[in-house]
Assembly symmetry: C2
Homo-oligomer: 107 residues x 2
Amino acid sequence: MESLTVGQAAARTGWSPRMLRYLERAGLVIPARSASGYRQYGLLELNQLRSLGELRRRFGVGIDELAFTVRLQQEPALQAAVETWLAGTQLSALDWEQRKHERLLAA
Amino acid sequence: MESLTVGQAAARTGWSPRMLRYLERAGLVIPARSASGYRQYGLLELNQLRSLGELRRRFGVGIDELAFTVRLQQEPALQAAVETWLAGTQLSALDWEQRKHERLLAA
DNA sequence: GCAACCTTGACACTGCTCTGTTAGGTTTCG
DNA sequence: CGAAACCTAACAGAGCAGTGTCAAGGTTGC
């Protein structure tokens, strides 16, 4: 055994097989492949799927928001521009995200 | 004078009046109001509009990504969850954002 | 007072995210 | 072998972001 197929991983993480394929294409959770092309989900991938699910369910975080965090850490020019902009805004932007979060929870 | 109406602010920042109203509703740039309800854009708002425009044009950053940054700084639980998730993923998420950025630039 | 500009609200369209489903074909397992 | 599960690709549809435009009415400035 050693690793799970897409259906087995789906059953254990609460995602649908469709979504696991989507997440792979999105670059968020990328399993190894068997010789015949089957996806192989190991412990690492299962943990990623669980924490990703929690991030989305509990905090309403989307894919690009997550990826943006990575980008911020790796592009100093972008980070500087964002911080400059933040200086003048602050609270109002927080309101926006909170309202979005409420919408997600209501659905 | 002292402050600009929505049309004047639009002319000076490159946004359309429609977008300035949209940005206000989104909570990103919120002008004061005159006694009769007209929006009043001052220096602060003009600078916010310019830096916001640069963030979007040069870096392809969207509203929720910006707001998410603020949220990260203010919700320690969220920040911790994101960092936990980041530990297992890293490069692949960056790829995603870069591909999105390329799509935006191509349009 | 009238033209030009403002206000809100609504309709509409493009494009993207997320998710399901269906179709045609391959692999695994009992 | 045959059923069940996998693969890719495609179509589909809700929902939201972003943007324009139009309508009905209020405000400003010459």
